[in-house]
């Protein structure tokens, strides 16, 4: 055990985490030249394209250190995004140390700080690395000062690297061996193994990625999971290199995988503890929690007849993503679909994109919202994750919404504009600290609903990409929230209803109405578009009645063309959604998602 090192990498997006990991794998000859490609650990197309890590991965390296010993290094690669902070925390829990990678040109970012704090809280040994020192814009000394300020290390402890040019890689490997402590634990003690991720394999079912803390797990062992009471048999056990390598057993300190005949990833929950059925541990490892979605949205098939296909796709998707929840939902406007819960906006985007790409689904999504707690005058407490379920305004005593503590790191020049954005988003300003004279670390509290939508894009654009952002959930608070409905000729378009702060309702209603006016084609009658809170109409606009629609010429040579137009018109109509006597094009629902708050 004393020659094992388990570690992860903390880095902001684009700071070079994947390239550095590639460098470590190369240096330790874990991969052959034939297997070489960029972002080795990111196996999904989406991860490569976006340069992000969505799933956790683990890979084992063998490293012959300068002290002459052969070490087993387990790198656990984690997703960096705040949506997946629970997964991150469980991956951190599986390690004894972390590489903190900071881009020499960008400096410390919000996400780096929050993940770093998670690592420090988990008691991990931190190895600071400044990456991309070869960049012309590198400001290595400034970044050094930021890091020293942040973790209180000595300047000499900071490793300077350029992962792209493979500079600093040997130093990093030595630091891993020398600074990160070996795992503690007792091979003879009752089994405690932490699941830090699980993936779905079409042939084998759920594959749990585990870190053994105490005891030994062997194939054919009868095992159980603390989160539920089923018993299983350990069918296959091994370690993770580029693929799975069967070793038949794992001991305290080891990182590897376990296949146990479990159908899907819902029974191999991240954070759960595995032990033996007989003579097992009394207690699970600390830190397990059921993760709950933070953001909800309706997903509807573009063509109503594709509902069953979408259900199949979601069922399959769920095999590999235990955090996605969904339930059938019916909308008068959009037909049959699903109310889906996501960990956050990135998670939502990923799910949508993968459904479209990997499962060939064409979907319309409704405006995302958070989960509200509504207290009625009768004293009931109702959880509302869909505006359609909001009680009548007259029956509501008060509404509470989730709040988050947010941290924004940006160059000090942008403090003013960030403050302004914070105020627009109903933020409560807490304080500002300076990482160095040029970098501010601003703290706010926000209603979650204000930041799930376009906050990050706005922040990025007003800071020319320099600001970074992270948040954590802090609880529910009362707010003056109302349900805003959109009506077409008096009929509610349920898919366009939203729950919004009263002060913002008028502005929102006006924007949606004018967008709809642009996109709803003229009908043979006038269409009134209204935004209303309860029975009170707060804005109104109209689509004028169509006065003329007829092609002037239709002779021999025009007939084919005219028929094709008709066919197109028919197809277009088929894709329209109908509310009352008004036909709404799909684009209208999508366009509402683009409206800037």
């Amino acid at each position: 055990m004393k020659h094992i090192r388990n570690f992860c990498i903390i880095a902001h997006i684009d700071h070079g985490k994947s390239t550095l990991a590639d460098g470590l794998l190369e240096n330790t000859h874990t991969i052959s030249d034939r297997e070489k490609r960029d972002q080795l650990l990111d196996s999904m197309d989406l991860e490569r394209e976006r340069g992000i890590t969505i799933k956790s991965h683990a890979i084992q390296m063998k490293y012959k250190a300068e002290d002459g010993n052969l070490y087993t290094l387990n790198l656990i690669d984690t997703p960096g995004h705040v949506d997946f902070s629970y997964e991150v925390s469980r991956s951190l829990a599986a390690c004894e140390g972390a590489l903190l990678i900071v881009d020499a040109a960008q400096g410390v970012e919000a996400q780096t700080i929050s993940n770093l704090y998670l690592a420090i809280e988990a008691g991990l040994e931190i190895i600071p690395v400044i990456n991309k020192i070869d960049l012309p814009s590198a400001m290595t000394d400034t970044v050094k000062a930021q890091i020293i300020d942040l973790i209180g290390c000595d300047e000499s402890e900071i490793i300077l690297a350029s992962a792209k040019d493979r500079i600093g890689i040997p130093e990093i490997l030595e630091a891993i061996v020398n600074k990160i402590p070996p795992p503690k634990g007792d091979e003879a003690a009752p089994l405690q193994a932490l699941i830090f991720d699980s993936v779905f394999d079409a042939y084998r079912g759920a594959v749990a990625y585990i870190r053994v803390f105490n005891g030994t797990i062997k194939e054919k062992d009868a095992i159980k999971f603390f989160a539920h009471d089923e018993r299983y048999e350990a069918e296959e056990i091994g370690i993770l290199k580029l693929g799975r390598i069967r070793t038949k057993e794992l001991k305290a300190g080891d990182v590897g995988y376990l296949i146990s005949g479990i159908k899907d990833v819902h029974d191999t929950k991240v954070g759960d503890t595995i032990t033996h059925l007989k003579g097992g541990s009394e207690k699970p490892l600390p830190g397990y929690k059921e993760i709950k979605p933070m953001v909800y949205s309706g997903l509807f098939p573009v063509n109503s007849e594709d509902f069953e296909d979408l259900r199949d796709a979601l069922d399959k998707f769920r095999l590999n993503d235990s955090s996605l929840v969904y339930a059938p939902e019916t909308s008068a406007a959009l037909g049959f679909g699903f109310r889906c819960g996501f960990l956050g906006m990135l998670h939502m985007e990923i799910v949508q994109e993968r459904l479209e790409r990997e499962f060939n689904q064409s979907i319309v999504t409704t405006l995302p919202n958070v989960e509200y707690i509504v207290y009625t005058k009768k004293g009931e407490k109702i959880i509302v994750d869909n505006p359609a379920e909001m009680p009548e305004a007259g029956n509501i005593d008060r509404v509470e919404e989730p709040y988050v503590k947010a941290q924004i790191v940006c160059p000090s020049d942008y403090v003013g504009t960030v403050m302004q954005l914070g105020m627009e988003k109903r933020g409560t300003y807490i304080n500002t600290t300076y990482l160095d004279p040029t970098r501010a670390d601003i703290h706010f509290e926000f209603p979650l609903s204000e930041i799930i939508f376009d906050f990050f894009d706005k922040l990025k654009s007003l800071s020319r990409g320099y600001a970074s952002f992270d948040y954590e959930y802090i609880g529910y608070r009362e707010s003056d929230l109302v349900k805003l409905d959109i009506l077409l000729n008096g009929e509610k378009v349920d898919a366009l209803s939203i729950i919004v702060h009263r002060n913002k309702s008028y502005e929102w209603g006006k924007k949606v109405s004018s967008k709809l006016k642009e996109l709803i084609p003229q009908h043979m009658f006038e269409i009134a578009i209204q935004a209303a809170i309860g029975t009170k109409v707060i804005s109104r606009t109209t689509v004028k009645a169509l006065r003329k629609n007829v092609l002037a010429k239709c002779y021999g040579g025009d007939i084919t063309r005219k028929r094709k137009l008709l066919e197109k018109q028919k197809e277009g109509k088929r894709r329209m959604k109908q509310v009352g006597n008004v036909e709404i094009p799909q684009e209208a629902f999508l366009a509402v998602l683009q409206i800037e708050d």
Partner: protein, 375 residues
């Protein structure tokens, strides 16, 4: 005998008007080669399509067919008469542009067999004519119509265009008033269409010209229907109006889903549910005619396509003859849309009697919208 119409395309023009998207060329080098090719194409089709057919109409469209000599046109008519059985009372139309024909030339057209003129007046307002880049002025337009009548033509149609940029209702009405005072039997009144690839389209895209909105267009259209109907020109199609017994036989062949043969560049043919069209480039057409195959594309219509076209064409023109429709297609669709039909009737868009469904003037204005919803 299957009634069949023949269309001859004459692509030659003196110049290209800004709104025109027909295939036309302003170079006369290939006039004679073209004549030879047309005659060859007529003979070619004779083999397959002359049996059991009678020709009810011949239509010379363009381009500017009246630029051709009467001898040129006469030769084509002779070729058709030789190869097909043309009815004695067949309608033989020549598209004519004002200013391209003297009284003598008109008489000569009459003597080679032309019995109907379709005159491309477009407007009686000089500013509007200039805008449209027509080669004639209003005076010439009126003179051409009068000359035609004096030369012995008793079936004269004029083409007009409305909803021109800046055209007021008053200006348009004046065009209509002048038209109905002339010795004519037929009027085609088209709302200005922006066609892709026209100079006008480019001008609009470049912001040099602004088109009027569809409300104004609707108003002019409604005015047209009212004024012409009051002057005993009945509407028998979206854009076509005729005195009693002067509906254009050729037009009706298209709209009542009869067979037709087209000869020359870009001409379309429709025989027994199959449609084909010739190459539109003159050079291509001439080249391909060397191998007797000028066809650029074809489609064999499915039953559904024929069904939709039949309804669309019938509804755009004199209305849907329910008996004829049911003989061809059965009654499934009629039953399906029964409620919609009744609703459109009650709202004043359709008139329905025992076996005819026809648009009202209000209905014609929204013809495409309603047909689209019914199909």
């Amino acid at each position: 005998m299957k009634q069949t119409a023949i269309y001859i395309h004459i692509p030659f023009c003196d110049h290209k008007c800004i709104y025109c998207d027909f295939y036309s060329i302003i170079n006369y080098d290939n006039l004679n080669k073209y004549l030879t090719a047309i005659k060859k194409e007529i003979e070619l089709r004779q083999k397959d399509f002359s049996e059991d057919r009678e020709i009810i109409s011949i239509f010379f469209g363009g381009g500017t067919p009246s630029f051709m000599t009467p001898g040129y046109i006469g030769e084509i008519i002779n070729s058709i008469t030789k190869n097909f059985s043309v009815r004695n009372d067949a309608e033989i139309t020549l598209e004519t542009n004002p200013g391209t024909v003297s009284k003598q030339k008109l008489k000569d057209f009459l003597s080679v067999g032309i019995n109907r003129l379709s005159i491309g007046i477009q407007s009686f307002n000089d500013n509007e004519l200039k805008f449209l880049t027509r080669i004639h002025d209003s005076q010439t337009a009126i003179e051409t119509v009068n000359s035609a009548a004096q030369s012995g033509f008793n079936n004269i149609s004029v083409d007009l265009i409305f909803n021109l940029p800046d055209q007021s209702k008053k200006m348009w009405k004046k065009n209509l008033d002048i038209s109905v005072s002339l010795p004519i039997t037929h009027i085609s009144a088209y709302s200005l269409i922006l066609e892709r690839g026209t100079i006008l389209n480019k001008m609009v895209l470049d912001g040099k010209v602004q088109m009027q909105d569809s409300d104004h267009d609707a108003e002019l259209y409604e005015t047209t229907i009212e004024l012409l109907t009051n002057n005993r020109f009945s509407q028998y199609e979206v854009s076509n109006f005729a005195k009693e017994n002067y509906e254009c036989i050729h037009n009706n062949a298209y709209w009542r889903y009869k067979d037709y043969l087209g000869f020359g560049t870009s001409a379309h043919s429709f025989i027994n549910g199959k449609r084909w069209w010739n190459y539109s480039s003159l050079n291509f057409y001439l080249e391909k005619m060397k191998n007797d195959n000028p066809v650029a594309g074809e489609e064999v219509l499915t039953n559904n396509q024929m069904h939709d076209e039949y309804i669309m064409l019938a509804m755009r023109s004199n209305g849907l003859d329910i008996n004829d429709y049911e003989n061809r297609f059965g009654s499934m669709w009629i039953n399906k849309v029964q409620n919609d039909l009744t609703e459109y009737q009650s709202k004043g868009y359709l008139s329905i009697d025992d076996n005819f469904i026809k648009f009202t003037p209000k209905g014609y204005t929204l013809c495409d919208e309603i047909i689209g919803r019914l199909l």
